[in-house]
């Protein structure tokens, strides 16, 4: 990142087990952590992360904790056109080939997460976009992005209802 005309490099250590854990089995995650799997899916849909695979989910069998990391493809495409990106993602979940979406086989657990997302306060979204404007997002698009995220938050349930084809193993009603 840039600060005061200097470039700084940093790395994030996701190895909460000490070293990198092996890739997870999405099927096992869905079977063992169904509720959390929906939580991850709903979160990724909210932030439009189309890059969730078995290498950026970690399951520590010792502590039985699941962690997700790597959201570099979420929200806006780096260097891409904001208007085009938002337009392309408005009506879909923007999950890509989400590894958990391919395995989840029930809707139980989905609604509570959507309700939780609805509880996200306006100031939180506004603060996040404001922070984003401090590291690359054009400030003149701030209001547009805030509005987009609030709308996505409020209508995420409808978005899921319209896009259940993203979950091939969920029985059709």
């Amino acid at each position: 990142m840039e600060s005061e005309n200097s470039t700084y490099f940093f790395s994030l250590d996701f190895n909460l087990a000490g070293q990198a854990l092996p890739p997870v089995s999405p099927l096992l995650i869905v079977q063992s952590f169904t509720d959390l799997a929906w939580g991850i899916i709903v979160f990724d849909a909210l932030v439009m992360n189309g890059d969730r695979h078995n290498h950026n989910i970690a399951h520590d069998a010792t502590t039985n904790r699941v962690q997700i990391f790597d959201h570099s493809h979420a929200y806006l495409t780096p260097g891409g056109d904001i208007d085009q990106t938002l337009a392309a993602r408005t009506a879909n979940l923007a999950l890509g080939a989400h590894c958990l979406a391919q395995e989840i086989n029930t809707t139980i657990g989905l609604s509570p997460w959507i309700e939780k997302v609805k509880q996200i306060p306006d100031y939180f979204i506004e603060g996040l976009v404001e922070a984003g404007c401090g590291c690359g997002i054009p400030p003149d698009r701030k209001d547009l992005l805030v509005s987009f995220m609030k709308d996505r938050r409020d209508n995420l349930g409808s978005l899921f209802s319209a896009n259940m084809a993203n979950f091939p193993k969920v029985p059709t009603p």
Partner: protein, 273 residues
């Protein structure tokens, strides 16, 4: 065709010193694996890990992952790389006879991860001749003050015993080596052994060791110090001579002139700037 893959572990990515920790084998369509911490029957005993891993719980999860995924395909295993754990193609094994995948796997595990060639070939059962030859070579080098020890103050580049040397695929421990810019590696073989198979196996191992080290260090100079057979030539001895002759200079340790020339060269290498 029999192929094998090696699971590797790097304790500290900054030092980048991979260690072999597991073997996968595919032999006639049958897959087998063996990992550090497993008994011969495949059961896992965490006590066998000792202090090999800073985070043993992470290793046990990788072992579980590899055992689960090994039947899905090698490409997926080999493409899953992290800074600490990864899998590499080891190579192919020929002349496995009637051995099963499990037997080949066990052999490779002992050779590349366990106790080395002695374990893999069970040489500890019939090793007297080679031990005696090694003892004799050691005593000669020591007498000439060519061997590194606590009182060796004269040789600038002494011969060292059993120092690990990195090959292209694995790290070897030749009986003797010497380095003065160029690397010299020498090992011994007694061709008077009672088991022709053991002679062929040891010659094959030494040939592979020289070849693998040479693949990593192009200018390697390798020597096979041989105590020739007192009996008539046999297929095993012919085989051994051909294998060793193709990968190293063969020195007849009982030939006074050949031995003298070899030792004189060791002296020059040891004393050179």
């Amino acid at each position: 065709m029999t192929k094998y893959w090696i699971a590797k572990y790097i304790e500290d990515p900054m030092r980048n010193e991979p260690r072999n920790i597991g073997i996968f084998v595919e032999h006639n369509g049958v897959r087998a694996a063996r990992f550090v911490g497993e008994r011969e029957d495949g059961t896992f005993d965490a006590r066998k890990l000792g202090n090999k891993f800073t985070f043993p719980n992470v290793y046990t999860q990788w072992r579980t992952y590899w055992r689960r995924e090994m039947f899905a395909g090698w490409d997926a295993l080999a493409s899953t790389k992290t800074a600490n754990y990864f899998v590499e193609l080891g190579g192919e094994v020929s002349d496995v006879g009637a051995d099963t995948a499990d037997e080949v796997c066990s052999f490779l595990f002992h050779l590349l991860i366990g106790g080395g060639a002695i374990d893999a070939y069970n040489w500890n059962i019939d090793e007297d001749g080679n031990v005696a030859l090694a003892t004799e070579i050691t005593a000669t080098l020591d007498h000439l003050q060519l061997l590194e020890n606590e009182r060796a103050l004269f040789a600038r580049h002494p011969v060292v015993k059993e120092r690990p040397v990195a090959g292209h695929h694995v790290t070897h421990t030749p009986s003797f080596s010497q380095r003065n810019g160029r690397l010299y590696v020498f090992d011994h073989i007694d061709l008077n052994g009672t088991r022709p198979t053991k002679i062929k196996e040891r010659a094959g191992l030494l040939g592979y060791m020289f070849s693998d080290i040479r693949a990593a260090e192009k200018d390697l100079q390798a020597y096979s110090l041989v105590r020739p057979s007192t009996e008539n030539a046999s297929d095993a001895i012919d085989y051994a001579k051909k294998v060793l002759g193709s990968e190293s200079s063969v020195v007849n340790w009982l030939d006074e002139n050949a031995r003298g020339a070899f030792l004189e060269e060791r002296r020059k290498v040891a004393d050179a700037a």
